[in-house]
Symmetry: C2
Subunit: 151 residues, 2 copies
């Protein structure tokens, strides 16, 4: 078999990389960012607990939702240190990011409406086109909703 270190609660970096479908260098990188943790064996090689796999899966899922690594770290830092995270721990994270995702979807839908309006207006009048006014695109003045970007 390709890798002997299986479920022994003692995973090598190459194994984790293959199982998670990320590069070894990415695991190093995540470690420097404090997103995952490892210990070293006698020969200074990284070893991981199996739950690192779920951590990485969660990191990747959050990234697809548009969450930055920095935010992901903040949230992961709320997981208990003394025990392996359980069902409720992970569920809490999901709920949090789902809220962010909902905001993002809502933002996109508002944007879509704007664009729709703009197709109608034909962008002929600079003063009336909803896409024209640089400060009116996200509509601080129009919808009271939370902004995802501040540009």
């Amino acid at each position: 078999m390709a890798h002997k270190t299986l479920q022994d609660a003692n995973l090598a970096v190459g194994y984790v990389a293959k199982r998670s479908d990320v590069n070894v260098s990415t695991l190093h990188f995540y470690e420097t960012k404090g997103l995952i943790r490892s210990w070293r064996n006698n020969g200074n090689q990284r070893r991981y607990k199996p739950d690192v796999l779920r951590r990485i899966a969660v990191i990747k899922a959050a990234q697809k939702m548009g969450v930055t690594l920095e935010e992901i770290k903040l949230t992961l830092d709320t997981l208990p240190e003394n025990r392996t995270p359980n069902k409720n721990d992970w569920a809490r994270l999901s709920t949090q990011w789902q809220a962010q995702l909902d905001e993002k979807i809502a933002y996109m839908q508002r944007l879509r409406e704007r664009v729709e309006g703009c197709i109608g207006c034909g962008c002929l009048s600079m003063s009336s086109c909803p896409l024209y006014n640089p400060n009116d695109i996200l509509g601080e003045t129009h919808s009271g909703a939370v902004l995802l970007e501040k540009d």
Copy 2:
């Protein structure tokens, strides 16, 4: 008045920057990327046609929809060169990006469902959790929809 070069079809870079709410350096940058164009006066200073304002507005709107500058350039390149773009020209661009936005919204909504499912499953079973399997997050196998990211 602050700027004399007004609507003379002959706009200075600072005027355009102020009206568009972007930095002068950004206009230089956009020009190197082929997103906008200018000619030079006697003293080698940039001059713009007024429709650059709409171009920039459109660029910024597209960026908010998540379109990259590279894609934006491709689309802007389909505008006619010989005349000032008209209502239909701009409407075509809006329609195109609106479709992309729709895809993006749909993708996010699929993702949201996944996360919802994951709250239910509690992420306890590595083999059954929809967020766990690294290759199953976007669901090539699950939904036949177009993927927005290929990671």
